[in-house]
């Protein structure tokens, strides 16, 4: 990254108050994102999704976020008001949620949902909006945009739903895209198509992508850089191509526990969690 990063996160903490105790979900995470694909990998509960949400100030109300620095371009997110965040969310930073089944409005036609994301301007006519939506549906490789435009979310497949979500998120031309497990609900072949679309967007539009996933193989082959999270901390950061040579015992353990073609009749390595990982 020669240019200054789009996003700078320094010492981010997310805590949740529950009736029993304080849960410290993210414990001092620091990283930066330029115009590149950064993967955040970890198991469920490692704090990877909460890190993504904190960047957009979408932490649930019982959680508190604190950070030394949370800077997006010229904007200090940590100090930004809700009113300022409304101008950022969806227009400059977008988030693609995990499951299109839950993230799309079930009683609204696909086209109308995407059109909602078009930045407000008094001069855009209905016909212009429709053209924009059509163009965007085509950009995410939907074969018959006119048909899909008038469908309800339950009438489309998972892969198409995910592409509709991407189309919606791109409507406002954001600079940073946070994708939280965008392909884990998809089949392998459809996953490749969706990833190719994201990949091209990063290359062509020069946006930054934070790719949150639990799939090590996928992140290693798709992203430029990888952050490995464990129990709310980044335990290791490396170039995606070097993930196979990761040093941290947690990362190595995760890699070893993956079944592979050719591993038949062997016992898979089981991860032994070292309490020391929580503190180093």
């Amino acid at each position: 990254m020669s240019e200054s990063p789009q996003l700078l996160v320094e010492d981010l903490h997310v805590r949740f108050r529950t009736p029993q105790r304080m849960v410290h979900a993210v414990r001092g995470v620091s990283f930066s994102v330029g115009r590149e694909k950064v993967g955040i990998v970890g198991e469920s509960g490692s704090g990877k999704s909460q890190t993504g949400r904190a960047i957009l100030k979408l932490t649930p109300p019982n959680g508190t976020v604190s950070a030394k620095r949370l800077q997006f371009q010229e904007l200090d997110i940590a100090g930004a008001s809700e009113r300022e965040m409304l101008k950022v969310r969806g227009s400059r930073i977008s988030m693609i949620m995990q499951d299109p089944k839950y993230a799309l409005d079930p009683v609204m036609r696909v086209g109308a949902q995407i059109a909602e994301a078009i930045p407000e301007s008094p001069r855009t006519s209905a016909a212009e909006k429709r053209d924009k939506v059509m163009a965007m549906l085509e950009a995410v490789h939907i074969r018959n945009p006119a048909r899909v435009h008038d469908l309800y979310p339950h009438e489309v497949s998972g892969g198409m739903g995910q592409r509709i979500m991407i189309a919606m998120m791109l409507m406002a031309d954001p600079d940073l895209l946070i994708a939280d497990e965008p392909t884990s609900a998809l089949d392998v072949t459809v996953r490749m198509q969706v990833l190719a679309i994201l990949d091209d967007l990063v290359t062509r539009r020069g946006l930054g992508l934070i790719f949150i996933s639990h799939d090590l193989n996928l992140v290693a082959t798709f992203c430029d850089r990888v952050l490995i999270m464990y129990a709310g901390r980044i335990v290791e950061e490396c170039a995606a191509a070097d993930l196979q040579n990761a040093k941290h015992p947690y990362t190595r353990g995760l890699l070893a526990s993956l079944p592979r073609i050719g591993s038949r009749h062997q016992k898979l390595a089981v991860l032994n969690r070292d309490p020391a990982w929580l503190n180093d």
């Binding site: 074969r143 392998v188 490749m192 190719a196 526990s257 038949r264 089981v270």
Partner: protein
């Protein structure tokens, strides 16, 4: 495939068809599928969601009586409605351990139910034994599902299937809802149980690596049809010839921009 003769097969499926809906909305979810599974073998079914692989399992275990074709399990021809004794021989483990366990039933209640239904007396002994078998231990007996982690829940689901000492275990994506480190534990457990109890299994998965790890032979499905059957060694030698199988194989290795462009062209059609 010389080892797939129907005569001595544990499970033999001939021309299985399952359809949903009627008229213009008629969907052939399974469209004339045939395969055999030998005793003690683990057979894999792979394919995308909606290809009919789970529908086959549901037809085999009697959850969907609306099928046609010839199905023989353990030498006995299957009718749409199953007898009670059938379920002592064939059990199923479902994909999502968060959905497949009753949230207000303790481990004990969950495991007692099949014993009650089948009128089996030594419940106490069996529950303790099966809990040890799946690596949970008797300490878990009076817990509720919400007090268990995802991996522990799936162990309980496996225990529930094993408590009747079945010969056939049908596994519908048993690890796809779990983290990779937990997946490794469950796969190891299944390999271990299969060997100790001599189970015949059908494993449905969209993950070719999981199928390659667990199975001896597999069938590749797409749009309700069996595209090809091949031994897992063919995957290891990288020798499948069917383009769809090759696509699945490539996708299982991770993201590849070059391959992805052909995939994108595919959907642009």
């Amino acid at each position: 495939m010389t080892d797939s003769t129907p005569e001595n097969a544990m499970i033999s499926v001939r021309d299985l068809r399952v359809s949903f809906g009627s008229g213009a909305g008629l969907v052939h979810a399974v469209d004339g599928v045939s395969f055999n599974v030998q005793p003690g073998e683990t057979y894999g079914l792979v394919g995308e969601s909606g290809c009919g692989k789970s529908t086959i399992l549901r037809a085999l275990c009697g959850l969907n009586p609306n099928w046609s074709g010839d199905v023989t399990i353990g030498g006995e021809a299957m009718t749409p409605v199953r007898t009670r004794s059938f379920y002592r021989r064939v059990q199923m483990v479902f994909q999502d351990p968060y959905g497949s366990l009753h949230p207000r039933h303790t481990v004990n209640t969950t495991l007692t139910e099949p014993l009650k239904i089948h009128g089996i007396g030594d419940a106490d002994e069996r529950i303790t034994r099966v809990l040890v078998q799946v690596g949970l231990g008797p300490a878990f007996r009076y817990r509720y599902p919400h007090q268990l982690s995802g991996g522990q829940r799936q162990r309980l689901a496996i225990a529930r299937a094993l408590i009747l000492e079945p010969q056939v275990l049908l596994l519908d994506e048993p690890t796809s809802a779990l983290d990779v480190s937990v997946q490794a534990e469950i796969l190891n457990l299944l390999v271990d149980l299969r060997e100790r109890l001599g189970l015949t299994c059908i494993l449905v998965s969209h993950d070719l690596a999981v199928v390659a790890h667990m199975c001896d032979r597999l069938g590749v499905m797409n749009a309700g049809k069996m595209l090809e059957e091949l031994p897992v060694t063919a995957l290891e030698d990288d020798s499948p010839t069917h383009p769809y199988t090759r696509q699945l194989l490539a996708a299982s290795l991770g993201y590849d921009r070059r391959l992805a462009s052909t995939a994108v062209e595919d959907i642009e059609g």
